[in-house]
Amino acid sequence: MKKYLLLTAGIVLLAACSKDQLGGQSRVSILDESSRAHLQAELTMADYTAFAEKVTNKMLASKLVQSWGRKRPRLVVGRMRNNTDNESIRIQDVYDRITETILASGLVRLLDKSATAFDYVVNTELSSTRQYGPGGEELAYFKLEFKMFKLDGEMVGQWSDVLPLGKAKRNFL
């Protein structure tokens, strides 16, 4: 009986020594939605938002878009190509972030991908490069690129943004 009591006391003491405070007992916590926390060198939902914010910044600030004024041309955002080494990236989420931002600007009439009559089409592509170090270090670069074309195929704009993610050396202790 004494043995069991000692064992239980030991376990309780060990648990009390745990320093992992994330979210208290459940170890789950709600994060700030604009936080850029990463556990892996992969994109998070906040990164999709950052990409959409920065590339549309560049697009909306361009001379071409400024010249539209209140004309509100018809725009199609084409299907996004995933040219990264990760097939599981939720491309539709990145796409939705982009259309949400463009639509909110009120500068264009956004048409569905299946539309055949439009003024401009934006082709989007997400690509990546990756390098590994001997100690588990990792360096990943993600790039989002917009290319805008007229109906006759003339390219009228190109904007991109790069997000580098670095993972430090693995710590064994």
Binding site: K19, D20, Q21, L22, S29, L31, D32, E33, S34, S35, R36, A37, L39, A46, T49, A50, E53, K54, T56, N57, L60, A61, V65, Q66, S67, W68, G69, R70, R97, E100, T101, A104, S105, G106, L107
Partner: protein, 157 residues
Amino acid sequence: MNRKYLFYILLMGSMINLTACVTKGANMSRLAQRTIDDTHPRATLILGSTELVNKVLITNVKVVQAGLLSRAGIDVQNLTDNRYNLEYKIVWRDKQGFPIYVSNVWHRFVLTPRKIKSFQSTGKTEEAYSIQFTVRFPDDLYIESDKRAKEADDSWF
């Protein structure tokens, strides 16, 4: 008996004093602090820590009209020989001061010694009028928990 009354009077007096010390902000746009610069009519600039005051300067703020939208340009200058890992966020507001609800997140950047880094942002709707620009040390749940773990380690020894 008199002493008892005196005690109660003193207690009430100190309570009234304490209440008077509470800052009431309902009718203020913000409380003036060393970390906040609101000298630009269309920009509020915030340093996220007193440690950054006189070390990092937010400067050369421009808010102009670009077509139908507003466009902002901001420089962040490192006044020291230290290397700073920081993050910034821009929130656009309309003329009444309400935030424009287009999702935005913190963006990390590095300020090498004496560097001046420029940032630009376009107000994503026609109503966007002024900006709130914040620079702070990177902060997220894991950075915070690492910090706490380190503090716990230090207090152990």
